[in-house]
Symmetry: C2
Subunit: 207 residues, 2 copies
């Protein structure tokens, strides 16, 4: 069987492009309406293609959703991975928080997509949470703990501190409607960033 062309494993350019278009459209729709609230027709319309064509690239609605989660999952934790045990603690944490604020601000849709998934019990990514995520956080918590032990940082529970960073930074993306409603205006990144840094870090200077 010479030159046996196995199924089109390698994506053609059209496939690559259309999958990209679909994922982009799907992020819009899923982040706005959640998994069940979103319809395949809506995504297809936003991607400028027919529903059967969309389902030619992703056979089930769920496949798009999962692909979307996985596609962003890695990027999302990159800043935490870069937390450097050898750097200056307050500088490292300050940088991490700033980057997270900027990411939430730049891509609130992805933030809401995850928030919604976790809010509903994370049925699709439970294994990821208990696996790679847990491992990474445990690792970085140890880094923070080491800083504390070395007297470079005031004592704080590293896990809960990371949770605090996540919750506060994501709040500005996930609850933007509420933030804007309370402030009576559109929140700007700069002032929020500054305030968050002060609130989270001021108490951490070593004595």
């Amino acid at each position: 069987m010479p030159h046996a062309k196995t199924k089109p494993i390698v994506n053609t350019r059209i496939q690559a492009r259309n999958k990209e278009v679909i994922l982009e459209a799907a992020l819009d729709v899923f982040s706005a309406s959640g998994f069940r609230g979103a319809t395949v027709d809506q995504i297809a319309a936003k991607a400028n293609m027919s529903k059967p064509n969309l389902l030619y690239y992703f056979r089930r609605k769920e496949d798009i959703y999962v692909a979307l989660l996985e596609h962003t999952l890695t990027d999302w934790l990159e800043p935490l991975r870069k937390l450097d045990a050898g750097g200056d603690p307050l500088r490292e944490l300050s940088h991490y928080i700033s980057v997270k604020m900027e990411m939430s601000n730049a891509n609130p849709k992805a933030s809401r997509l995850f928030a919604n998934e976790i809010l509903h019990g994370a049925p699709m990514i439970e294994k990821y949470l208990k696996g790679p995520l847990r491992q990474l956080v445990t690792e970085k918590a140890a880094v923070i703990q080491a800083w504390i032990a070395a007297g470079q940082l005031a004592p704080v529970d590293p896990f809960h501190f990371i949770f605090a960073i996540w919750s506060v930074t994501q709040h500005y993306a996930d609850f933007a409607v509420q933030v804007d409603a309370v402030l009576g205006r559109r929140e700007d990144l700069r002032s929020a960033q500054k305030a968050v840094l002060e609130i989270l870090l001021r108490g951490l200077r070593p004595v």
Copy 2:
């Protein structure tokens, strides 16, 4: 027209009881699946009644949802209302944070219900956010600002500080799945409460 019995404005006991049962069932379903994800049949089944009977008490699915939001909305902000300008700042804030943690822990479903609503743009309660909520927060932000001006509290943006309290406390209810997955165990209220108080308040002691 003597004794003109106007429509049954006063609820009968059966009405009061069944509405209660329905709202309880609806909280379960809506908090688990969101507004669009929830079905009237599911709610009716959980309330042990037929769908038409449920719709006899709440004519539209949306009515149950809105009633549920309004029913809890007032209670939810009660602790913030009690923030006393005349009390000791750190004591007042510490108490507020503790109570919020306890509320989120005791009623995570209600917390998730609101989170989901806001996450999706708060289409049903936008007016509430821009009205009563904004007014209350503005008022309490002024209280915090006064404490700062009096030198009783280290300077902090009051609005963003309140946002930080909300986001961190609600995180343990809304993202419980993630918290538990990362910690590898069910989080207990006590230690989370202690950690959150330290993280949020340590930097606020006046110089």
